[in-house]
C-alpha cells in the first residue's frame, strides 16, 4: 500500500440561523453561510481581492459580540452562534443601502445592488429630504465626470468608496499605486496625487480598476460613449471567452460584443492565470480587429 496521508484539516462547528454547520477552520462567515445556501449581500468584497470590510452590508450578528461583525472577513470561531437575518442585521443592511442610495448615483450599479436594496426595503430618499434644510441640500458625492484619456472614464459621483479599485491598482494585483483614497470622512475620494489627470499619473491603463468596480464609476470609454448616445444595450450583448492575442502568457479575455463589435473586455476572476486581471494590451488593444 502506498497511502499518502492527507493534510489534516481541522473543522469547527458553528450555528447559523439555528442550523449547525461544520466547516474547515479559518473559513469566513460568508463562506460558511454559502455552504448552507445563505446568500449574503456584499459590495466591497470580491473573491480575488483582500477583504477590506468597509461597506458593512455583509454584517451579521454573532452572539456575545457587542457589535455586528463583517461576514466577508471574519473567520468562524468554534461554537460561534450567527444570525444572518435578525432585526439588527436587517436594520444595518437597510441603513447602509439607504446611506449609499442617498448620496451616490447608483444608476449603473450591478443589478444585484438594486435587488438587495429592494429586499431590505431601503428608502434612501428619507435620509435626504430635499427643500427642508437651511444648510442647503443634503450632501452627495456629486462631481463632474473625469474624462482625461481615450480608454476609460472616472465618474466619482457613482463611487461608493469600496476600495476595490485601490486594491486592484495596488497590492492585490497591479502594484502600480496610481490611485489611493485621499481626503477624509464624507470628503474622501479616490484620487491620483494632487488629483492630477491620469496621463500625468502612474496609471498604466491595465483597467483592473474597471474590472472590479461595482457601480460603473469606472467605465470603458466605449461603454460611456454608447450610454451617452443611448446605444448601450446589454440584452443584445454576448460574452465570449478567448485568449489574448499578444504575449505568451495566455490570459483569458471575455469579449463583450454588441452588434459584432467588441464593447468591453473583462477576464474571469476564477481563472488562475489572470485572476481577473489584465494589462493595457489585453484590456484595450482589440480595436485593430474592428478597423474594418
Amino acid at each position: 500500500m502506498n497511502a499518502v496521508p492527507l493534510p489534516f484539516v481541522r473543522t469547527v462547528e458553528v450555528t447559523i440561523d439555528g442550523r449547525t454547520v461544520r466547516v474547515p477552520e479559518g473559513t469566513t462567515i460568508i463562506n460558511a453561510c454559502k455552504t448552507i445556501g445563505i446568500d449574503t449581500p456584499t459590495l466591497c468584497y470580491l473573491e480575488n481581492l483582500t477583504p477590506v470590510n468597509v461597506c458593512r452590508v455583509c454584517v451579521v450578528e454573532v452572539e456575545g459580540s457587542r457589535v455586528l461583525v463583517p461576514a466577508c472577513s471574519r473567520p468562524v470561531d468554534p461554537g460561534m452562534v450567527i444570525h444572518t437575518d435578525s432585526d439588527r442585521v436587517r436594520h444595518s443592511r437597510k441603513l447602509v443601502f439607504e446611506l449609499l442610495g442617498s448620496s451616490v448615483d447608483l444608476s449603473t450599479a450591478e443589478p444585484r445592488f438594486k435587488a438587495d436594496m429592494e429586499k431590505y426595503g431601503a428608502a434612501p430618499e428619507r435620509l435626504a429630504p430635499s427643500g427642508h434644510s437651511d444648510h442647503g441640500a443634503p450632501a452627495t458625492v456629486q462631481q463632474p465626470v473625469k474624462i482625461d484619456n481615450d480608454l476609460y472614464v472616472r465618474d466619482y459621483s457613482k463611487c461608493v468608496l469600496c476600495y476595490k479599485c485601490v486594491e486592484a491598482c495596488g497590492t492585490d494585483a497591479q502594484h502600480t499605486f496610481a490611485i489611493a483614497v485621499a481626503g477624509r470622512g464624507f470628503g474622501a475620494t479616490i484620487s491620483t496625487e494632487f488629483d492630477t489627470d491620469l496621463p500625468d499619473s502612474a496609471c498604466v491603463y491595465c483597467g483592473n480598476c474597471i474590472g472590479v468596480c461595482p457601480t460603473g464609476a469606472l467605465m470603458f470609454k466605449t461603454e460611456h460613449d454608447m450610454r451617452a448616445a443611448g446605444t448601450w444595450d446589454e440584452s443584445r450583448q454576448t460574452a465570449t471567452d478567448t485568449i489574448c492575442p499578444y504575449c505568451g502568457v495566455g490570459c483569458t479575455l471575455s469579449l463583450h460584443v454588441q452588434d459584432n463589435t467588441i464593447v468591453k473586455v473583462t477576464s474571469p476572476n476564477d481563472h488562475d492565470v489572470t485572476e481577473g486581471h489584465l494589462c493595457i494590451k489585453g484590456r484595450f488593444g482589440w480595436q485593430f480587429v474592428q478597423n474594418r
Partner: protein, 607 residues
C-alpha cells in the same frame, strides 16, 4: 518598485534639507522605510507651510512610497495642507469647551478682520477641533512655518491676542494653572499628579530627587515576571476609555512567541474636553518615560513609541527633551541602569486626526498609512504595530505603573473600589468655577467632584454635564449622585470615557453644542466605513433641521431618523468612533426635557 513621480516637480533646497533631517532622525526605529512618511510630511509642512508637489516627490523618492499613496496620507490630516497656504496659521478652537467660553464670537470677529478662514498669503486663521486646553478656554494654536518652525498654544485667548498672533506671530507667554489641587493647600492625596508643580519637568535630577527612577530600579531587581504579576494584581484598568485590564494585555504580549514586541503609548489625546495626559506629559515627562521603560522590560519590547497628538507643541518639546536626556544618562538605550536591559523610545507626532486615538488607526498612522482603523480581531496583542504583538496603553494608564511597582499590586488594588482600582484623573471644564485636572480615588460621586471644582461657575443653575467626552453621554442634574467608577457609570448607562466632565449651565445653547458634536464626528470620521462616513453627515443634517425647527415631515420622523442612524453607526461601524458618534446626541435627545433645550424652540443663537 517602479515609482512614477510627479512630472517636473522638484523640492526646494530647504524642503529637501528638512525632509532629509526628519528621515535621518527616525531611521532604524522601525522596519522598512514607510514608517518615516509621517515625520517626513511634518518636515515638509513645517518648512514651507504646505506639502508641495516637489516636497512630496522628494519624500516619495527617498522612501519608495508611491505619490498617490503619500498624497492620500497627507490629505488625511488637518494639520497638513496640500495646497499652498500662508506660512503662519492660527488655529482657533471652536469646539464645545471653547464654544462655551465665547469661541464663536472670536471666530466671527477674526473673519471680519482677516477674511474667511484660510484666506491670506502671509498669515491666516482657521477653525480647529478641540486643542486640549479646555481648562484654559478659549484656546488657539499658532504655527509658523519656515527654516526654524515655531509653534505655540494661546490660552485664555482674547480677540486682541488672536489678532496680534495673526498679524505679527507674537504670542503671550503661557498662562493659567491646570491643576487646582496643586495650588494653595496642596492636596496630599495626589499620586499621579505628585510631582506636578513641584519638580522641574526639564530636570532629570529634580525628577530623581522627587522619587523618580526608584520604580525602574525595583523593576530591574525583581525582574519582568514579577513586574507582570504586580500589574495583574493591581487590577489596573486602561484609562483611555475602554477600561481593559492592563495586566492581561501585558501578559498576552509578554508570552507571545512572535518577535519583536512593541510598546506604544497612546498620547493622541483628542477626545474633546480631555487634557489630563497633556498635563502629565508637560509637567512630569520623565514619569511617562520611566513607566514605559518598565513596561518595555516587562513585555519584552526593545522599542517603544509615544504617539502624541500634533496639537501639543509644549508636551512634544518637553518629552523630546526628556527622552534625549534619559538616553544620555543611560535610562534609555542598550544598557539601562547598567543592568544590560535594552529599551529605546521614539516620539512620533500625529497631525490632526481624532481617529488616530483609536489604537489600530494609530498603528496605521505610525506605520505611514492613512489613519484608518483595522478590523478587530486580530487584537493589538496579537497583531499590532507593524503587525507584531503590541501593548498599547494610554499615558495615564502607564504612569500608574510607577506606583504599582513601588507599592506592589495588591496595595494598589486597595485604592478606589473593588472593580475600579486606583485613582482617576478627571478633566473639568465648561461652566465650572475651578476648571482643571482633578485626581480622586475611584468612587467619588459626580456631585463630589463638581463640588471639589467649586461647583457651577458663578453659582448658576446646572443644565447638563457631558461625561466622557464627545463620545460620551450627557447627564442631568438629577444624576449627580452617580459614583465615578467604571461599574457605576456603566450602571447609569453612562461612561467615564477619558475622564471628561464638561459642565453646562442654564445659559448654554445645548442645540448648538449638539450640532457641534455632530459636526465634530462628521469632520473626524476617517471615511472608511459607510455607516460612519455617511451616517455622521446625515446625523448632522438631521440635527440642523431639528434645531432649526425645519424638519422634514414631523419632529417624530426626524427623531426616528436620528435613532435609525445612531443604531446603524453603533452596530455596524468598524471602530469606536462610529460606534459612539451618536452617543452624546442620543442621550441629550432622550434625557433632557424638550423645552429645556432652548434652541429647539428659540432657534439657534448666532448660527
Amino acid at each position: 518598485m517602479d515609482l512614477h513621480l510627479i512630472p517636473g516637480a522638484t523640492a526646494s533646497a530647504e524642503e529637501r534639507a528638512a525632509i532629509d533631517a526628519a528621515i535621518a532622525a527616525v531611521i532604524g526605529t522601525g522596519p522598512g522605510t514607510r514608517h518615516m512618511l509621517l515625520p517626513a510630511l511634518h518636515a515638509a509642512q513645517s518648512c514651507a507651510g504646505w506639502i508641495s508637489e516637489g516636497a512630496l516627490n522628494h519624500i516619495c523618492a527617498q522612501l519608495s512610497v508611491p505619490p498617490a499613496e503619500a498624497y492620500g496620507v497627507a490629505t488625511f490630516y488637518h494639520l497638513f495642507s496640500t495646497e499652498c497656504q500662508a506660512p503662519r496659521v492660527v488655529h482657533v478652537c471652536d469646539d464645545i469647551a471653547c464654544r462655551v467660553k465665547g469661541a464663536q464670537g472670536l471666530c466671527r470677529s477674526l473673519e471680519a478682520t482677516f477674511g474667511p478662514a484660510g484666506s491670506g498669503t502671509e498669515a491666516t486663521w482657521k477653525r480647529s477641533p478641540c486643542l486640549g486646553y479646555c481648562e484654559q478656554a478659549p484656546a488657539a494654536l499658532v504655527q509658523h512655518a519656515g527654516a526654524s518652525p515655531v509653534e505655540h498654544t494661546i490660552t485664555h485667548a482674547t480677540l486682541t491676542v488672536l489678532e496680534t498672533a495673526v498679524s505679527t506671530g507674537e504670542v503671550p507667554g503661557p498662562s493659567g494653572r491646570a491643576v487646582p489641587q496643586a495650588q494653595g493647600p496642596r492636596d496630599p492625596g495626589l499620586r499621579l499628579l505628585r510631582r506636578v508643580g513641584v519638580a522641574d519637568p526639564a530636570s532629570l535630577d529634580d525628577y530623581r530627587a522627587h522619587g523618580g527612577y526608584q520604580a525602574l530600579r525595583r523593576a530591574l531587581d525583581i525582574g519582568p515576571e514579577a513586574v507582570l504579576r504586580e500589574i495583574i494584581d493591581s487590577k489596573l484598568l486602561g484609562r483611555g476609555g475602554a477600561a481593559f485590564p492592563t495586566g492581561r494585555k501585558w501578559e498576552a504580549v509578554a508570552r507571545s512567541p512572535v518577535r519583536p514586541h512593541y510598546l506604544v503609548c497612546n498620547a493622541d489625546e483628542s477626545e474633546p474636553g480631555t487634557f489630563k495626559d497633556r498635563v502629565l506629559m508637560e509637567e512630569d515627562p520623565f514619569a511617562l518615560i520611566e513607566a514605559m521603560t518598565i513596561a518595555g522590560l516587562a513585555i519584552g519590547a526593545e522599542q517603544g513609541f509615544i504617539y502624541i497628538r500634533g496639537e501639543y507643541p509644549r508636551a512634544t518639546a518637553r518629552l523630546q527633551y526628556a527622552i534625549a536626556k534619559a538616553t544620555r544618562r543611560g535610562f534609555l538605550g542598550d544598557n539601562i541602569g547598567g543592568a544590560g536591559a535594552r529599551f529605546h523610545l521614539n516620539l512620533r507626532r500625529g497631525a490632526g486626526a481624532y481617529i488616530c486615538g483609536e489604537e489600530t488607526s494609530l498603528f496605521n498612522s505610525l506605520e505611514g498609512f492613512r489613519g484608518e482603523p483595522r478590523n478587530k480581531p486580530p487584537f493589538p496583542v496579537q497583531s499590532g504595530l507593524f503587525h507584531k504583538p503590541t501593548v498599547i496603553n494610554n499615558v495615564e494608564t502607564l504612569v500608574n505603573v510607577i506606583d504599582i511597582v513601588l507599592e506592589g499590586g495588591p496595595a494598589y488594588a486597595g485604592i478606589g473600589t473593588a472593580s475600579s482600582s486606583g485613582t482617576k484623573l478627571f478633566c473639568l471644564s465648561g461652566c465650572v468655577a475651578k476648571p482643571g485636572v482633578y485626581e480622586v480615588p475611584f468612587g467619588m460621586t459626580l456631585r463630589g467632584l463638581l463640588d471639589l471644582a467649586g461647583g457651577v461657575e458663578g453659582g448658576r443653575a446646572l443644565q447638563a454635564i457631558l461625561l466622557g467626552g464627545a463620545a460620551g453621554v450627557f447627564v442631568t442634574p438629577d444624576e449627580l449622585d452617580m459614583p465615578l467608577t467604571f461599574e457605576g457609570t456603566r450602571a447609569a448607562a453612562a461612561t467615564l470615557g477619558s475622564g471628561v466632565v464638561m459642565v453646562f449651565d442654564d445659559r448654554v445653547d445645548l442645540g448648538d453644542i449638539l450640532i457641534r458634536i455632530a459636526s465634530f464626528f462628521r469632520d473626524e470620521s476617517c471615511g472608511q466605513c459607510v455607516p460612519c462616513r455617511i451616517g455622521t453627515i446625515r446625523q448632522e443634517e438631521a440635527l440642523h433641521r431639528l434645531v432649526a425647527a425645519r424638519t422634514s415631515g414631523d419632529r417624530l420622523t426626524e427623531q426616528t431618523l436620528i435613532a435609525d442612524l445612531g443604531r446603524v453607526m453603533r452596530d455596524a461601524s468598524i471602530c469606536g468612533l462610529g460606534q459612539t458618534a451618536a452617543s452624546a446626541v442620543e442621550s441629550a435627545l432622550k434625557k433632557i426635557p424638550f423645552d429645556s433645550r432652548r434652541s429647539l424652540t428659540a432657534g439657534p443663537e448666532g448660527n
